[in-house]
């Protein structure tokens, strides 16, 4: 049986995987697709024939006509070497390697042969780039600061980063991933600042990827993250080139994937997911205040409905008498137990959010407003939910949107549900128990092998300068210790912190 199975499989594999041995064979295989074209031209001066082959949707015909055909037909060309010299395009390759020819044809190169049967040919770059214009960041919007966002083209993205770091130490390593998609991936770091070991780990993990079609950077994120079974994102994604430039200067590493408008930042920590890049554009008092607000709102968003359920189910004696009156009045008509009431409202909010996210912007807004007001008020009037809980759930939803990173916001909304179930089971004890699980999970998480909860645990007091609060730039003279940077000092702290005397 085993043998039969194997015999069945072999011919199939051969058919799929046998690479073309000669250029002619390659062109014949490519010719099965209708968008592949070969033209035969004749140079009137040297009477030489040319066979020009290309995949039509990938090439820019203007380049072909202006920069290739005009020179091919009107200069005295005899050999392939002549073509290489005559044509004013930056990337011209003379090769007989079939694999290279195949690869380049798929990247938008034009193949020119002097003989239909020859293996050797000239590859000339005539890529067609359909890209949208650089737009303003939509996910990580900031009121002040630069308004550029990455787009789907790797070259443009690299340009956006490069122009912010005009240094020869900025190193870009390129990799290709995906057996079908052959996606280019750029790993960016600053030589002499970023830790060599981190760079090697990233390169190793990316080159180990076995996948057919890599569409977006989030694919890479999920594949190379340390723990695949965690709801927490372990790599930070950003669409802001300014943020990438700033983290590179800290000693982190950025990964940019062709075709994805989001760069990945490694290694990262939990607190980084709660710091918006706008924090650096504001005065440090205000930035720290907003960071604390965000931290509080995350805690509030996760815990408030579970605490409501726990208190009303088990611990009503904990609620002071005056407050209890309010609660009782608002819940008097409600037939449902607190957990069902809470689940009903939480799921409603999730529905509204999901519906709003899937619909076109204009319709989505209407859904949000109509759903929020109408369903909320109606369910209170119908006696399905209490006013107090409606306020709490709405506040919790609002609070969950303060997280600057979209993926973290999702995680936080998901986390509410296990807490709710535990609150129903064991009241406050259950909430704390669930919190212990969360704490254990976060302690076990790593990002690129570096602890995820740093600088809180392992406690690095020096790194706390840019974690829960953000101290002024003059105190940020050292790069984060967690990254083990090769050059830990950013600028002279002495000069920045020099105290002036009166009237000096």
């Amino acid at each position: 049986m085993f043998r039969g199975f194997r015999r069945d499989k072999t011919p199939n594999q051969r058919k799929e995987q046998r690479p073309a041995r000669t250029t002619w064979e390659l062109l014949r295989i490519l010719g099965q697709s209708m968008d592949f074209e070969t033209q035969v031209l004749k140079n009137p001066h040297s009477q030489q024939h040319f066979w020009i082959s290309y995949i039509l949707p990938l090439i820019d015909f203007e380049i072909v006509q202006k920069n290739i055909l005009s020179y091919l037909l009107y200069s005295p060309i005899q050999t392939l070497k002549d073509i290489e010299q005559a044509i004013p395009v930056e990337d011209v390759i003379v090769t007989s390697n079939v694999t290279i020819i195949e690869e380049k044809l798929h990247e938008g190169y034009v193949l020119i042969q002097l003989n239909e049967w020859a293996n050797e040919g000239v590859l000339i770059k005539a890529q067609r780039n359909v890209i949208r214009n650089i737009s303003i960041p939509e996910v990580e919007f900031s009121v002040v600061g630069p308004k550029e966002a990455f787009i789907e083209s790797l070259e443009t993205n690299l340009h956006l980063v490069r122009k912010r770091i005009p240094s020869n130490r900025l190193t870009i390593k390129m990799l290709k991933v995906g057996s079908l998609s052959k996606t280019s991936i750029a790993v960016l770091y600053i030589e002499g600042i970023a830790d060599e070991e981190n760079v090697n780990t990233v390169m190793q993990r990316i080159s180990d990827i076995e996948f057919d079609e890599v569409i977006d950077s989030s694919y890479i994120e999920q594949i190379i993250s340390d723990n695949h079974n965690s709801p927490f994102p372990q790599l930070l994604d950003t669409e802001r080139p300014d943020r990438v430039a700033s983290i590179l200067a800290e000693g982190k590493i950025a990964v940019i994937v062709d075709g994805s408008p989001h760069a990945l930042i490694v290694p990262t920590t939990l607190v980084e997911f709660f710091s918006s890049f706008e924090d650096y554009f504001l005065n440090w008092y205000i930035a720290s205040f907003f960071r604390l607000i965000r931290l509080f709102s995350v805690a509030f968003s996760i815990l408030i409905t579970p605490i409501y359920v726990a208190a009303l189910n088990y611990h009503y004696e904990m609620i002071p008498r005056d407050l209890l009156g309010t609660l009782v009045t608002s819940r008097r008509e409600i037939p449902l137990p607190p957990i069902l009431e809470a689940l009903f409202l939480e799921l409603t909010i999730e529905l509204l959010r999901e519906a709003g996210a899937r619909l076109p912007t204009k319709v989505g807004q209407t859904i949000g407003i109509v759903g929020g007001i109408v369903i909320g008020t109606a369910s209170v009037e119908a006696g399905l939910t209490s006013n107090v809980l409606l306020i709490l759930v709405a506040l919790a939803a609002l609070a969950s949107f303060t997280t600057p990173v979209y993926k973290m916001g999702n995680t936080i909304r998901l986390m509410r549900f296990p807490f709710l179930l535990f609150a129903e089971l064991w009241g406050l004890l259950g909430v704390v128990f669930c919190f212990c699980f969360l704490m254990g999970h976060l302690l076990r998480l790593t990002s690129l092998g570096r602890p995820f909860l740093e600088p809180i645990y392992p406690l690095r007091i020096a790194d706390l300068k840019d974690a829960l609060i953000r101290l002024p730039f003059s105190k940020q003279a050292r790069r984060p210790k967690q990254l083990r940077p090769e050059q830990p000092i950013r600028f002279s702290a002495k000069k920045a912190n020099k105290k002036k005397d009166i009237d000096e």
Partner: protein, 362 residues
């Protein structure tokens, strides 16, 4: 001895958290009544005496381990030979496992008495041990993380003791030295169960990065827990009268009853729930220690040992049905701990000292 890779080791200052989080456990909820039984309101002196004893014992442990240059398993093997040494180590496994059971079962009892009379012991014990397995399988670094957070996060609870000042009468402590030295020492002995926990150092010693530096953190840690215990004892004595105190098994919880804020009353519920975070490192670190010793002695994978120990703990927690049996376990564990700290450790210390000198000469 198989050396511990650098990335698994912990910074010396974290020893502060491992020791204090192990010491502060279930005992702090009700030690006041126990010590006041024999020494009356002079018992705060006993707390300080017990603290001094702990300091001495800790110093001796460090000396033994430094001479052995490894954990207690290696020290036992070097000092008593392979067989006797290993038997002693296995006894330690039982001791640490007993600690897990005592902490877990006492906590469940507190929950059953104060919060949920209907809570099934096995349900909570199983869930808690699953949590423990999850954390301990993350390795020592994660366990220390739990120790760290169990000190940092509930530290706000200290502030709640200020609410008792309104009703406190510190004159109740007078006259000082009203009791005989003997009864004060007896109370210090009763204090053992509460201050126990720092002997886990014997097992995780090789995981500390810079041992010399960690010493001062360890002593500082024992010092601060002693101060906290003494302060809480004094506050309790000022709040309750001596007769009243004898009626409160968990005096700390009773004190929380008067905490009142505009949005919360009956603070003891929050306190008990919060106590999960505080006893979590007790259970995790003790379970880690016992499974680690078995791994070292018998060369079995720690994962399997951990699961087996967790199963044993759940079973024994369920077997302890009532207050008397729990109290018995706590008393037995307390006296074992007492003889361990002030009998076994000093004797081993002297023996290791002699042996070291003899070997040096030879």
């Amino acid at each position: 001895m198989q050396s511990i890779p650098e990335r698994l080791k912990i910074s010396p200052f974290l020893v502060f958290f491992t020791i204090s989080s192990m010491q502060i456990g279930i005992g702090i909820l009700g030690f006041q009544r126990v010590i006041a039984k024999s020494a009356g309101y002079d018992a705060w002196i006993s707390v300080i005496l017990a603290g001094i004893g702990a300091h001495l014992s800790l110093a001796m442990m460090y000396s033994i381990l430094q001479k052995a240059n490894g954990s207690i398993v290696e020290a036992n093997q070097q000092l008593f030979g392979k067989w006797i040494g290993n038997i002693l180590s296995i006894l330690l496994v039982l001791y640490y496992t007993g600690m897990v059971v005592a902490v877990l079962r006492t906590y469940i009892e507190v929950i059953q008495v104060w919060m949920f009379p209907d809570l099934e012991t096995w349900v909570f014990a199983t869930s808690f041990m699953l949590l423990t397995i999850y954390i301990v399988s993350g390795g020592f670094r994660v366990v220390v993380g739990v120790c760290f957070f169990s000190i940092i996060l509930p530290s706000y609870l200290i502030l709640t003791f200020f609410y008792t000042f309104e009703y406190a009468n510190f004159r109740m402590l007078l006259p000082i030295f009203d009791h005989s030295i003997f009864s004060i020492l007896k109370a210090a002995k009763d204090m053992t169960l509460t201050i126990l926990g720092f002997e886990t150092l014997l097992v995780y010693y090789p995981f500390i990065k810079n041992v010399e530096q960690s010493k001062k953190w360890a002593h500082f840690s024992v010092f601060s827990t002693t101060i906290i215990y003494a302060v809480i004892a004094v506050i309790t004595f000022a709040y309750f009268s001596e007769k009243q105190l004898q009626k409160h098994i968990w005096a700390t919880l009773s004190m929380w009853k008067i905490v009142e804020m505009p949005f919360i009353e009956r603070f003891e519920y929050l306190g008990i729930a919060n106590w999960t975070i505080i006893i979590l490192p007790n259970v995790c670190l003790a379970a880690w220690c016992s499974s680690r010793i078995v791994k070292q002695v018998a060369n079995i994978r720690q994962k399997y040992v951990l699961v087996a120990i967790a199963a044993i703990c759940v079973t024994s927690a369920c077997l302890l049905k009532n207050r008397n049996s729990i109290e018995l376990l706590n008393d037995v564990l307390g006296s074992i701990g007492f003889y361990f700290l002030y009998g076994f450790i000093p004797l081993t210390f002297i023996w290791s000292h002699i042996l070291h000198k003899v070997r040096k000469k030879a």
